[in-house]
């Protein structure tokens, strides 16, 4: 989430400039060797013949659930790209998050199939039970709500996913029960 309170977009050029481009404002190269080690291992662990910036970012996202700032640098070093290029890719794809998600990630589909089968009510009630408005992290640190354009099980619409487990033919009531029982 963006650093400035007033602009709540995920990645914002202005905040990026403010946070990273001005020396001393917030140092990207913080010494955080433990985290960096984990990132390096996650990148090296991808056993695929073609390793790119994107595949390294995906590996990091799989490991941490988000892209830590340090990962941008580590990936740039590993793939020989510039940090700018890595940021360019990371900010382009919508699945990359830059803040650590809460314990459980709840994804709700808002695509047309799920929409006409009643996704809006589910989103509304799920957000209410988590105490947030729309996408975001709940204050108690339990759940993170994300919208998804297609979870891939449209024949069982409306679909939600909690920590990668899909649930089909949801109703607002059932979804709220599932979230409460987390």
């Amino acid at each position: 989430m963006c650093q400035l309170e007033r602009c709540r977009r995920t990645v914002c050029v202005l905040c990026f400039v403010k946070n990273f481009a001005i020396p001393g404002a917030r140092d990207l190269t913080v010494a955080n060797e433990d985290l960096r080690d984990r990132i390096r291992q996650a990148i090296k662990r991808q056993e695929r013949p073609t390793v790119t910036v994107l595949s390294s970012l995906l590996a990091t996202q799989d490991e941490f659930g988000y892209i830590p700032r340090e990962a941008i640098e580590e990936i740039a070093v590993y793939t020989g790209a510039s940090t700018n290029d890595v940021w360019g890719v990371a900010s382009f794809y919508k699945n990359f998050q830059f803040t650590e998600p809460n314990e459980h990630v709840i994804e709700i589909c808002w695509g047309p199939s799920c929409h006409i089968m009643g996704a809006p009510e589910i989103i509304e009630e799920a957000a209410e039970v988590l105490g947030i408005e729309g996408e975001g992290d709940s204050v108690d640190g339990k759940g993170t709500l994300r919208y998804n354009t297609c979870l891939g099980a449209c024949a069982r619409a409306p679909v939600i996913s909690i920590d990668h487990q899909l649930y089909g033919r949801m109703t607002a009531k059932k979804a709220v029960e599932k979230i409460k029982s987390l």
């Binding site: 400039v17 919508k94 047309p112 729309g134 449209c154 069982r156 089909g168």
Partner: protein, 587 residues
Amino acid sequence: MFSYDELKGTADQRWKDLTQGDMPWIRVGTEMNGHAAGGFQVIDAIRSELGARNIAAYVDEVGTLGLSYAEPIVDVLKPGRRSRLLFRDVLVDDLPEIIDKYIVNDSVPGNKAFAYLGEEPIQGVPDLRTIPQYGMQQRVAMRNAGHIAPADIYQYIANDGYAALNKALFEIGADTVIEEMKASNLRGRGGAGFPTGLKWSFMVNSPGPIKYIACNCEEGDPGAFNDKAILESDPHTLLEGMLLAGFSTGASNGFVFIRHGHDGPIDRTERAIEQAYELGILGKNVMGSDFSFDIEVSLTGDSYVAGEETALMESIEGKRSMPRFKPPFPAAAGIWQKPTTINNVKTLAYAPQIILNGSEWFSGIGTEKSTGTAIACLTGHIAYPGIYEVPMGLTIGQVINTVGGGVPGGKSLKLLQTGGPLGGVLGPDSLDVKIDFDDMAAAGAIFGSGGLIVGNEDTSVVDLIRVLVTFCQYESCGKCFPCRLGMTQLLDIMERIARFEGKPEDLDVCERLGKTMQIGSLCAHGQLGFNPIKSALTHFISEFEEHLNERRDPTGRTSTKFFSPKATRPYSEDFREVQPLEVISSL
């Protein structure tokens, strides 16, 4: 290294063990729809229930029979039987009864037994082939889906798997493969309908040695899930299709391009590739011939535009998935500027059957200009949602009413949304349109990825169009400004109309923006981005007018609430609050 005959011998033996052995064979549908219905919990429970009763059985995760509405389907083949008994909507609590009654005691339990499949009738249940949801299907690309376990390569080989590859490598040769593909008149199933044989022939003369075959399983279209279903049900069909494409065009490497986050298709494809390498079907000297081919899975982040062929190549290279200018065309300079052919999953999945059974057999299915089958994903307000592979040339009405069971709850059908978010909507008068490339195009729709979303009389057109436009705006990659800015304007206008605050000139502005986007965008996302609104204005103009003039929705919708990602920003409080100039001055 094994020859095809050795592999086939092992596979036939394994298949005989499974189907005529002395252990029951239990198959559970765990494709994504099965997953959403609880298929994995069911299969875990089956294993533990069988363990508790000391019953030895083969238990396999399989793909889908297409009957997503009945998932999770548990399919039991008992030793000595020639028919499988299928149970539908199985919950974990039903399993003790199914196991005790059917597997132990041989009586058919009443409420969950669904149908039998095979030559020998089972008392009390109908033949699955008499049920239109299965009986009207003609399965070519999905012939093995739901019947074999995707994790077992031998089950695929026992069902004629890799026979077409063997035939191509050692009997007919590369040129004949391309001739057969051309003669079959197979058209690409990704949406554009370009003849596949012709596409392959473009790459034959491109200079080597490194050439790529890319398989497009990005499938970001909401409402379509047939590509993922093929990968999850029968990944080896796709690998064989890619091998055939690679052999006939002289390619050296293949990429299966899947969206990150869809774990089922990714895991099963990776497992299939691993097995194919172990048996020498992939890698150096495929099946002992002098043809070598490597395949790997390439993942992309969430981006709808990545499904466009040039954007897909950018994404495989690890960059932002933005379309490239054409020419040069991919057959000349594609991934890393090497010659590349890109095909959809469905297109490649047809190839093995065409080579094995001949082009005449294939062109006998469907209509003259659109040969073969169409894989339709029925969703929305429909009695039997699912994935149905039907011959081309059926009308949309037949597919929806006969196969899909019509609109449930005594309601009438109001609209159809075809071909993904860019395809637009159709009215009920389009039920007579035939499903093939040309008839659909003439009716102002595209079959595209095969998604058919059905809306009943309570569906608000304006509300649905707002979702489609939001999707298009959200997924615009931003390279071409007519698309990037035009979509934002269109979304603002749609949001305004849906909030009953529309201005009289709004629809004219929409038309103008749409025209600009069509002329000024590189890829189909911008070119067709106006389609949802255009088609809605053609079929449902009165609803828009009622919104504009009388400030009400004919379906009685009064709520103006709408949930969409923050990156879309029509009317959003966030966007109004942000004042970029002030932020800059505060630096």
